[in-house]
């Protein structure tokens, strides 16, 4: 087995190459930090087994964020592997910085230069560069079909040389000079360094350079407290060397990588935010209403006509009406799973649009625009990625919080992600909201999405001021160029998401539905409810339901659905379908059942249903997100986070229900005036408080410079 690691700067196409080499479908994007953990896969090529590991992108061997730490730790502990160092041809001089760091570590390297963009920025003499550095260079381009062959051949060739005793030797003139110049500072630790390097002179040099850079980990391992203050000198030496190489082997650059003319519009001070909101709204509208809604209706019809009805008529004729087998299929499989499956087009489209945003390079611009707000609440513009991914699936989004540099910011981002309304919650809004609001439901849904975002930002602000102060969080983000998405890639994104959704519905959701069906159809003594009696879920639901009466939905069916929804949000809707005895997969049947007061799940008013939707949005993400959070941010904060979610959900739903009821009972105008008065009173108290507080804390009181507050 030949082992090779893919190493490179963020967004240079490592994962794309990984997918090409191994025929897998890992998620890629035009954004810094899509890969957050190492992934290994092996493939066979010309009788050799090659195991290839994809690592998060790094700029150097000194990690700043958590994902970078994953990569550098892996590199140091697997330095006997072959390193495939991938560089973006359009940004070669900056990319070579990492190459030099790897060469200082003296690991076997294959330098892969990737021409991602069709337009070349400059011409480079790769043969000359290869000779000067004494490293093998493989040039590939995005459209290149032979890249798998080229790279695999290079890996096998290098592996052969290594097993014949070949040792890499790179021509780095600056390295010896750096060490020589700083010998006075380093020599007193010679013994420690030699011991650690086990007399490997290359490793000795590497440790010396890391010491000069004041690398925290290396200093800790060697138990050295002294500051060397050489980071600037080391970086300067590497860049001087790169400049020398570039002047020899590269033509003059024609334009800047990243920033483009389109940014005049997308980053325009006043247009940036409206454009973003408009784009997001357009994505949601297309996904959930026009295109997605149409496809979903079509799918629902087809499922019912060609799968649902035939199965039911077959079963009824064989087992007879009222048997538990018929009930299981009717309610749990066709009513429950079917009602979720009809949302397949919408979920697939949503993920497609999220990928489109990511691939286009627009996301980095969004991060730039939102840095103003997110920086103030202790996050970073980079959190935009995590939060936006949260609209798709919280579980995978939480992992991307590793792009944070500060531990508290990472915890905060992880805690806030579940407030982004994930794709599994959409069917609940669409069906339940639709029953009460009809065409106006789009405003309810937009409101819910917005509410989640506002609560997340507010919560982050509160946490930043209290328990989770950010200390070292910053914002340094490279701008990728705009890129268009190929048709092939669009289709593959759609296909992967369709597959994922169907397999999720066919496994987890189906299994959970059967469990819920069992618990709602059998009594505690395991007797079929069809013969009379109270089911297990109904028993528990009735005990808990008074708790939810203040929120407007204190009936056992709704409470039981919420309990089942702890596992996955899709199950809320399918449980409702089951409890109400829906026997086909069309959502219209559910809609007409929840307004009937005889149903198990019944909503008495518009405010009750909105309150329920708000509670669903906020109360608890799902078991899989919870388990990922446990791993990522630790037990303590996961539990605190869950507790906060329940409290926030309960309070928000309560407030919304109460206000809503007031509107319904007392009329719109009176309540509006009352609310306005309350808001004005609170605001004026706040302003007065600020004025008093500011007067006390004026920093210039003793030596007044004069300001708006007047000269003293």
């Amino acid at each position: 087995m030949i082992q090779a690691n893919l190493v490179g700067n963020p967004n240079t196409g490592k994962t794309t190459l990984y997918n090409t080499l191994s025929h897998s479908h890992e998620h890629v994007g035009n954004w810094h930090g899509v890969t957050v953990e190492e992934k290994t896969i092996s493939y066979k090529y010309k009788n050799s087994d090659i195991a290839i590991t994809d690592l998060p992108g790094i700029y150097s061997l000194s990690a700043l964020s958590f994902e970078e730490k994953v990569a550098t730790d892996f590199i140091f502990s697997h330095n006997k592997h072959i390193f495939i160092n991938i560089c973006d041809a359009s940004n070669l001089q900056r990319n070579l910085y990492l190459t030099l760091s790897l060469m200082e570590l003296n690991v076997p390297i294959i330098l892969v230069v990737n021409q991602i963009d069709k337009r070349k920025i400059c011409n480079i003499d790769y043969e000359g560069l290869s000779e000067a550095l004494n490293v093998k260079i493989v040039y590939i381009s995005a459209s290149d079909k032979s890249c798998k062959q080229k790279i695999s051949d290079a890996i096998i060739e290098l592996d052969g040389q290594l097993s014949n005793g070949f040792l890499p030797h790179y021509n780095l003139d600056y390295k010896d000079k750096l060490i020589r110049e700083n010998n006075s500072k380093l020599s007193k630790f010679d013994k420690k360094i030699k011991e650690k390097a086990k007399n490997n002179s290359n490793l000795e040099d590497f440790i010396k350079i890391k010491l000069l850079e004041d690398d925290g980990d290396v200093k800790k391992k060697l138990d050295i407290a002294e500051d060397f203050n050489g980071a600037k000198q080391v970086a300067q030496a590497r860049y001087d060397f790169i400049d020398m190489l570039m002047s020899k082997f590269s033509s003059k650059r024609e334009r800047v990588y990243g920033h483009s003319a389109l940014d005049k519009i997308f980053l325009n001070k006043f247009l940036a935010l409206p454009i973003f909101l408009l784009l997001l709204f357009a994505c949601f509208y297309l996904t959930f209403f026009s295109l997605g809604g149409f496809l979903s209706d079509g799918l629902g019809f087809l499922l019912e006509r060609f799968i649902g009805s035939p199965i039911i008529s077959f079963l009824t004729s064989n087992f007879g009406e009222g048997s538990w087998v018929v009930s299981l299929f009717e309610n749990a499989v066709i009513g429950g799973v079917g009602s979720i499956l009809t949302f397949l087009p919408q979920v697939a489209l949503l993920f497609f649009f999220l990928s489109l945003l990511e691939d286009s390079g627009y996301l980095a611009r969004v991060a730039f625009v939102f840095e103003d707000v997110l920086g103030k609440v202790g996050l970073s513009g980079k959190s935009v990625y995590t939060l936006l991914m949260g609209f798709g699936c919280s579980t995978t989004a939480v992992l991307t919080a590793r792009n944070m540099e500060d531990k508290n910011s990472k915890i905060k981002t992880g805690l806030l992600t579940p407030y982004m309304s994930c794709s599994a919650k959409f069917p609940i809004y669409a069906v339940l909201g639709g029953a009460f609001f009809g065409a106006n439901n789009i405003f309810v849904i937009c409101g819910l999405y917005l509410l989640g975002v506002v609560i997340a930002v507010a919560l982050s602000y509160v946490l930043d001021k209290t328990l989770l102060k950010s200390k070292e969080q910053s914002f340094i983000l490279e701008f990728p160029p705009y890129r268009s998405m190929s048709i092939k890639r669009s289709l593959s994104v759609l296909w992967i998401n369709v597959k994922m959704f169907v397999s999720r519905v066919a496994t987890l959701i189906l299994a959970m539905n059967i469990v819920v069906w069992f618990m709602s159809n059998f009594t505690i003594t395991f007797k079929f409810v069809g013969n009379g009696g109270v089911s297990i879920l109904e028993t528990f639901g009735r005990i808990l339901s008074p708790l939810f009466s203040p929120l407007g939905f204190g009936n056992w069916g709704i409470v039981s659905a919420l309990i089942a929804g702890l596992v996955a949000k899709e199950i809320i809707l399918s449980s409702i379908a089951m409890f109400n005895g829906i026997e086909d997969s069309s959502t219209n049947a559910i809609q007409s059942s929840i307004i009937l007061s005889t149903s198990a799940v019944y909503f008495a008013s518009k405010s009750a249903v909105v309150s329920f939707l708000v509670f669903c949005l906020l109360y608890f993400p799902c078991v899989s997100t919870f388990s990922v959070l446990l791993k990522e941010i630790g037990k303590k904060w996961t539990f605190i986070g869950a507790l906060i979610e329940f409290i926030v959900a309960y309070l928000t739903a309560f407030i919304i229900y109460t206000i809503g009821r007031c509107f319904e009972v007392f009329g719109f105008v009176r309540v509006f005036v009352l609310l306005l008065a309350i808001v004005l009173i609170i605001l004026s108290v706040f302003v007065i408080y600020r004025k008093i507080k500011n007067r006390k804390t004026c920093p210039y009181e003793s030596n007044c410079r004069g300001c708006k507050r007047g000269r003293k």
Binding site: Y59, S60, S62, L64, N91, Q93, R94, Y97, I121, E213, D214, G216, A231, K232, V234, A235, Q236, Y239, R253, V256, Y257, G258, H259, D263, L267, K269, F270, A272, L273, A364, A367, F368, V369, E371, D372, V373, G375, K376, S380, G381, E405, E472, S474, F475, I476, L477, E478, F479
Partner: protein, 75 residues
């Protein structure tokens, strides 16, 4: 010598020093090529001034305002 955050948009400047940031952030800026004598262009500022966009070494980088005010440049 003045901090980058106070410079005029669209201008090209030469870095003279980076000070007042933590070691790890300073080191990252060095690694990204923000070294003494390096030319850079201040391309953009966000609406509330929370973020800055610079063009350096042929690529584009966005930075938080506290970093921009720790980078000292000469015209």
């Amino acid at each position: 010598m003045l901090p980058l955050s106070k410079c005029k948009l669209g201008g090209t400047y030469t870095i003279s020093d980076i000070k007042g940031l933590s070691l790890s952030i300073t080191r990252r800026l060095y690694e990204l090529g923000l070294l003494k004598g390096q030319r850079l262009k201040l391309a953009r500022r966000s609406l509330l001034g929370g973020a800055f966009l610079i063009e350096i070494r042929g690529y584009t980088l966005s930075l938080r305002s506290n970093i921009a005010s720790s980078i000292f440049v000469e015209g």
